[in-house]
């Protein structure tokens, strides 16, 4: 288990990350979301031991990252935002260097390189200079670097940035598979990306954590019990004034055609009153449901402080 405890990082006198705390459970894939400049990279760099926090601690399986740098760095596979490659070396040479500094020698290094290049789909690119690879393939070689020592923890900083849609799907599948037996932290500002891959997300904005929860719970928290979506076949018969005057209804608006959104405060009895009212209007009620917020909406809400 990874726990980030009240971590603050100053650059000069500006705090890039401010009192950040969250935990990552063993074996889960955690999405780490935030807009540009929110402090994602800074947080991940602290977790990987690239630099120490100004305040706070990061522990992995109970060990402090800065007290046991070697043990921790062996457990973590880290893929930075910009894949760190030696452009005048081939992908194979880069990988074999990374394998060797992780203590893999000879045939162990060879088979590790074979394993990760198959996994990342770079087998046919191994003998090209990394400087000549396309962005997508550089990204893959970067991922292969992170995987070479078969780490229990993977920390990936925007692994799909700059890839084309096909590659994004491939890499996302790859990460999903990797996450079956590993703990994965995946940062992104593309929300769509993590919805499919992660169960739980941490959202950071302006250096502060604004939400950590499962995607369902988050949409519950921000959506359920607050907004109801009604679909009717005869929208012209809907009387919004009448709907709004129902006890427990805050507001009712027409979204488009037969779709209406009703904001409510209260429980099932309010829903019952709404449904009987709509039925009595003879508007042809065909659907009535809670508006589950998409991750995008949660994100906008949390980020804008709503």
């Amino acid at each position: 288990m990874i726990s980030v405890n009240n971590v603050t990082k100053y650059f000069g006198d500006r705090a890039a990350v401010n009192d950040v705390s969250f935990t990552v459970n063993k074996g889960e894939i955690l999405g780490f979301l935030g807009p540009n400049g929110a402090g994602k990279t800074t947080t991940l760099r602290i977790m990987t031991g690239f630099f120490p926090p100004s305040q706070g601690t990061v522990t992995i399986d109970g060990q402090d990252v800065f007290e046991h740098p070697y043990e921790i760095k062996k457990k973590i596979g880290y893929m930075p935002e910009h894949p760190p490659l030696y452009y005048d070396m081939s992908a194979r040479e880069c990988l074999s260097f990374v394998a060797e500094i992780h203590g893999l020698r000879g045939s162990a290094a060879g088979s590790a390189i074979r394993r990760v290049s198959e996994l990342c789909g770079i087998t046919h690119m191994l003998d090209r200079l990394t400087g000549n690879l396309s962005k997508g393939y550089r990204q893959r070689v970067g991922l292969a670097h992170a995987l070479i020592h078969d780490p229990a923890i993977l920390i990936l900083d925007e692994p799909t940035s700059g890839l084309d849609p096909m590659q994004i799907i491939e890499i996302r599948e790859l990460i999903k598979n990797l996450g079956r037996e590993r703990t994965v932290i995946l940062s992104s500002h593309i929300l769509f990306e993590v919805t499919n891959v992660c169960k739980r997300v941490a959202i950071i904005n302006n250096g502060r954590i604004v939400a950590v929860d499962t995607i369902e719970k988050l949409s519950d928290k921000f959506g359920k019990g607050k907004q109801i979506v009604l679909t009717v076949t005869r929208p012209e018969r809907m009387d919004l004034k009448k709907l709004s005057s129902i006890d427990g209804v805050i507001d009712a608006v027409q979204d488009n055609g037969g779709r209406f959104t009703v904001s409510i405060s209260g429980g099932d009895n309010v829903l019952e009153r709404i449904s009987s009212e709509v039925v009595s209007m003879q508007a042809g009620l065909i659907e009535m449901k809670h508006a589950a917020m998409t991750l995008e909406e949660i994100f906008l809400k949390t980020v804008s402080g709503g």
Binding site: G49, F51, K73, P80, H82, M89, F97, E100, I101
Partner: protein, 255 residues
């Protein structure tokens, strides 16, 4: 520290893949070859003159006349060439962001610095040692004092260590190779000419400056005099510069 060897290997590879080491070697060997040629000519002309005189001339032998001057020139030429060998060492890792890979791998800062220092020293030694044809040629035509030659090369190795460690330090403070090179040249030129070309107000200060000078500690060695004080000074100089490089990289993480 058990990662040192693969790290040195990678550093050497970087040298062999980039043209800079070949250019440095080419320029150095060209210059030294020319110096050798002209000092051979000078020597043979003097030899003809001296053969007419009857009195014994002390110190007039090929080792003293040719090798001593060549050793001094080799050292001086490397004041300007070392920065070209060392400038990319750390600055380039920072620029290419591969430093992020190194610092999140199970490598210590000490290994990184030691590996870079040793790799540059290996390249430097290869270039320096390819001048071994000079004493061999002299030996072929005449005789050479091999102890003097050995001391001279030892001197070159020691000032090489001192100069490369300054290069490592300067490369650690920036992510721009050119800045690293200019800083290194500045420091090396200062420590080369201090106490000699660059004097102090008083005799005492000049003496202290001479003690600090890299050149004056090299002087004995290239003249064939082995003095432990020179060896200790040059080694400590390198250790201090490498220690400072370690501090620079370590404190950079805290900013």
């Amino acid at each position: 520290m058990n990662n040192l060897l693969p790290f040195i290997k990678k550093e050497l590879k970087a040298y062999f893949y980039s043209p800079i080491a070949y250019i440095v070697a080419g320029v150095f060997l060209g210059l030294v070859g020319y110096f050798f040629y002209s000092s051979m000519q000078g020597f043979s002309m003097q030899a003809v003159q001296f053969s007419a005189s009857t009195s014994e001339i002390t110190g007039f032998n090929p080792t003293n006349v040719i090798m001593k001057g060549l050793f001094r020139s080799m050292g001086t030429v490397f004041v300007l060439l070392t920065p070209l060998i060392t400038m990319r060492l750390i600055a380039e890792e920072k620029r290419a962001r591969t430093m992020e890979l190194l610092m999140t791998s199970p490598l210590s800062i000490m290994t990184i610095i030691a590996g870079k220092f040793i790799a540059a020293l290996i390249i430097y030694s290869i270039i320096i040692m390819s001048t071994i044809y000079i004493p061999l040629t002299i030996e072929y035509f005449s005789t050479v004092s091999w102890t003097h030659v050995f001391t001279g090369y030892l001197g070159l190795l020691l000032i090489g260590m001192a100069m490369i460690s300054v290069g490592v330090l300067c490369s650690a403070v920036t992510d721009k190779q050119v800045i690293a090179a200019v800083l290194t040249i500045g420091i090396l030129v200062l420590f080369w000419f201090i106490g000699g070309g660059i004097g102090g107000h008083t005799e005492n200060i000049t003496n202290i400056m001479r003690e600090l000078s890299l050149f004056s500690h090299f002087e004995n060695l290239y003249s064939g005099l082995l003095d432990t004080r020179d060896i200790v000074y040059l080694l400590s100089f390198a250790v201090v510069a490498l220690f400072l490089s370690h501090r620079v990289l370590e404190s950079g993480r805290w900013k």
